[in-house]
C-alpha cells in the first residue's frame, strides 16, 4: 500500500447489531479520482464519515495521507477538503461572503474567490444570499467552499445530486481540472454515468460490501454481456448469444432476408452492477 494517499484495510462497522460496512479494502494512489458507487443506503456516506474521522471503525485499518488515521493531525486536516451530504453555508450571507469567510478560516487569500465563483458558474449570483439560492446553487457554492484552500485530498459525497444537467456538467469539468492539477478525489455517487465520466477507478458497493473495484473500462469489459441485439423485419428485436448457435441463427436470418440490424450491446456500469449483484440498481 505504499504511495497510497488513502486506504482502507479490512474495515468493518456495525450500528447496534446491524453490519453497515463489511470488510472494506481499497487503496487510492495520489492523484486518482476514485468513485465509490452504490445505491442509496449502500454505506457510501458512512464510509466517508470513517475516512474523515466523523465516526470510528469497529475493525480494520485506515490510512490517511500516509499515516494511520488515529494519528492524523490538525495540520493534516488542513490538506483535506470535505463536501458532506449535509454541507451548508450561511443563509443570511451572500455566496461570495461565505466563500470569503471560508478563505479567511483557511488562511488563504480572497483572491481565489472570483475564480471559484467563475468555475462553478456562480459569478452572476455572487451577491445572492444563500437563503435565496436554488438547491443547485447552494450545492455548487458549498463545493466551492470546500475547495478554497486547494486541498490535495478531496472528499465529495454525491456532489451532483439535485443538480440540473448544466450544473452537473460544470461540476464534472471542475473535477477534470482538479485531476489535471493532481488532486486526489474520493467521490461517492449513485449515478453510474457520472462514475464512468469522471472516475479513474470505481468501487461498487452493495449492502456495505465492495463487490467490484477497477477501472470502469476494465469492469465493462469483464462483465460485458456476451450478446448482440438483433432487429428483424417481422420477428421483432431480441438478444442472441455470441456463440455457434447464435451464429447459425444470424446466418439463417440473413439468408431469409429477415435481418435488419445487429448491435453489439456495450454494457454500461449500470449493467455491470446488475451483473455483479444480481439486482437492479
Amino acid at each position: 500500500m505504499t504511495g497510497a494517499i488513502l486506504s482502507m484495510d479490512a474495515v468493518s462497522l456495525s450500528f447496534k447489531d446491524k453490519r453497515v460496512l463489511d470488510n472494506l479494502t481499497f487503496s487510492i494512489p495520489r492523484g486518482q479520482t476514485f468513485g465509490f458507487l452504490g445505491p442509496s443506503g449502500a454505506g457510501k456516506t458512512t464510509t466517508i464519515k470513517l475516512l474523515t474521522r466523523q465516526l470510528a471503525k469497529d475493525a480494520g485499518r485506515i490510512s490517511l495521507l500516509g499515516r494511520p488515521i488515529e494519528r492524523a493531525s490538525a495540520a493534516d486536516y488542513e490538506r483535506i477538503g470535505i463536501l458532506s451530504d449535509t454541507s451548508a453555508l450561511y443563509d443570511r450571507m451572500s455566496i461570495a461572503d461565505n466563500l470569503r469567510f471560508y478563505a479567511r478560516l483557511r488562511g488563504v487569500s480572497h483572491g481565489r474567490v472570483p475564480y471559484l465563483l467563475e468555475r462553478m458558474g456562480l459569478t452572476d449570483s455572487a451577491k445572492t444570499l444563500i437563503k435565496n439560492c436554488s438547491k443547485g446553487m447552494r450545492q455548487r457554492a458549498a463545493l466551492a467552499a470546500s475547495l478554497v484552500h486547494q486541498p490535495e485530498l478531496l472528499f465529495l459525497d454525491e456532489p451532483t445530486s439535485g443538480l440540473d444537467p448544466a450544473a452537473r456538467a460544470e461540476v464534472h469539468k471542475m473535477l477534470g481540472e482538479l485531476r489535471d492539477r493532481g488532486t486526489t478525489v474520493f467521490l461517492t455517487t449513485h449515478d453510474m454515468a457520472e462514475a464512468e465520466a469522471v472516475c479513474d477507478r470505481v468501487a461498487i458497493l452493495n449492502d456495505g460490501a465492495i463487490v467490484a473495484c477497477d477501472d470502469p473500462e476494465e469492469l465493462k469489459l469483464r462483465y460485458a454481456r456476451n450478446r448482440v441485439v438483433i432487429r428483424t423485419r417481422t420477428r421483432g428485436t431480441f438478444e442472441v448469444a455470441k456463440d455457434a448457435a447464435g451464429a447459425d441463427l444470424i446466418d439463417d436470418l440473413m439468408r431469409a432476408g429477415e435481418l435488419v440490424s445487429i448491435h453489439s450491446d456495450e454494457p454500461n456500469l449500470e449493467e455491470v452492477f446488475l451483473e455483479v449483484t444480481g439486482r437492479e440498481f
Binding site: Q54, Y77, S84, S87, A88, R92, R104, L105, A142
Partner: protein, 249 residues
C-alpha cells in the same frame, strides 16, 4: 496558535455581522429597553418620592439596576446565543465548519465573546434608560460582565444540546426565568430568599450593597462565592459536554 487566532477572528467577524442582520437580535435589544421604560410609568409614584427621600432613592435605583442587568443578560443569552447555536446545528453549518477543521471549542469561544459584547451593549443602553447617575456605570458594567459569564457558559451548553430552534426555545426559557428572579427580589419577599442563589443573584446583591454604601469584604463574601460557584458550574458543564453535544448525527 496563529491558525487558531485566525479562525477565531473569522468566526468573531461572521457572528458579529450576523447579529446585525438577525431579527431575533432586535427583540433581544428592544425588550429589555422597553421594560426599563415601562418601569418609569409603573414606578411613577415611588420615583417622585425618591427625589426627596434618599432611602427610597437607593431602593428604586437598586430595582432599576437589577432589572437592567437581569434583562440584558437573560434576554441576550436566551435569544441570541442559544438560538444562534441551535440554528447552526439545525442548518448543519456547525458540522460544515467542523469539517473545515474548526473545533467546537473555537466556535463556542467566538459565540461566547460576541454574546458577552452584545450583553454589555444592551446593558449600557438599559443603564442609560434607568436614569441612575453615571457614577454607578463602571460598577454596573463590570458586574454585568461578571454575572454574564456563567449564564453564557450554560447558554453554550444548552445551545449545543438543542437539536433545532424549537428546542432552543424550550431550553432558553428556564435560563431566562433563572436570570430574572433577582429582579423581583426587591418587591417580592418570597423571591428574595431564592434570588441570592441564582446565577445573577450574587452580582445583583453586590450592586445593592454598592448603592447602599455598605459594600464591605464581609458583606461581599457570600455574593462573590455564589457567583464563583455558578461560574464553576457553567465551566464544568461546558467542559464535560461541549464536544459530545457538537456532533449532530
Amino acid at each position: 496558535m496563529a491558525a487558531s487566532l485566525r479562525k477565531l477572528g473569522a468566526l468573531l467577524d461572521k457572528d458579529a455581522r450576523d447579529l446585525l442582520k438577525n431579527p431575533t437580535m432586535v427583540v433581544a435589544v428592544i425588550l429589555p429597553a422597553a421594560m426599563i421604560l415601562l418601569y418609569h410609568f409603573v414606578y411613577r409614584e415611588p420615583l417622585a418620592v425618591a427625589d426627596g427621600d434618599p432611602a427610597v432613592r437607593v431602593l428604586i435605583d437598586g430595582l432599576f439596576l437589577a432589572s437592567a442587568l437581569c434583562l440584558s443578560v437573560g434576554m441576550v443569552v436566551s435569544m441570541t446565543l442559544i438560538y444562534g447555536i441551535a440554528e447552526e446545528k439545525e442548518k448543519h453549518t456547525l458540522r460544515t465548519l467542523m469539517l473545515a477543521n474548526v473545533s467546537a471549542g473555537q466556535v463556542a469561544l467566538a459565540k461566547g465573546i460576541v454574546c458577552l459584547a452584545t450583553t454589555l451593549v444592551v446593558g449600557a443602553l438599559c443603564f442609560a434608560l434607568t436614569g441612575v447617575g453615571w457614577g454607578m456605570f463602571p460598577a454596573f458594567i463590570a458586574l454585568t460582565a461578571l454575572g454574564a459569564v456563567p449564564v453564557i457558559l450554560l447558554g453554550l451548553v444548552l445551545g449545543l444540546a438543542s437539536r433545532d430552534q424549537m428546542t432552543a426555545g424550550l431550553y432558553g426559557t428556564p435560563i431566562l426565568l433563572l436570570c430574572l428572579v433577582p429582579m423581583f427580589a426587591p418587591i417580592a419577599p418570597e423571591a428574595e430568599a431564592v434570588a441570592a442563589y441564582t446565577p445573577l443573584g450574587g452580582v445583583c446583591e453586590l450592586l445593592r450593597l454598592l448603592l447602599e454604601g455598605s459594600l464591605t469584604p464581609e458583606a461581599a463574601a457570600l455574593p462573590l462565592a455564589v457567583t464563583a460557584a455558578w461560574i464553576a458550574v457553567g465551566a464544568v458543564a461546558f467542559k464535560l459536554l461541549y464536544r459530545r453535544l457538537a456532533q449532530d448525527n
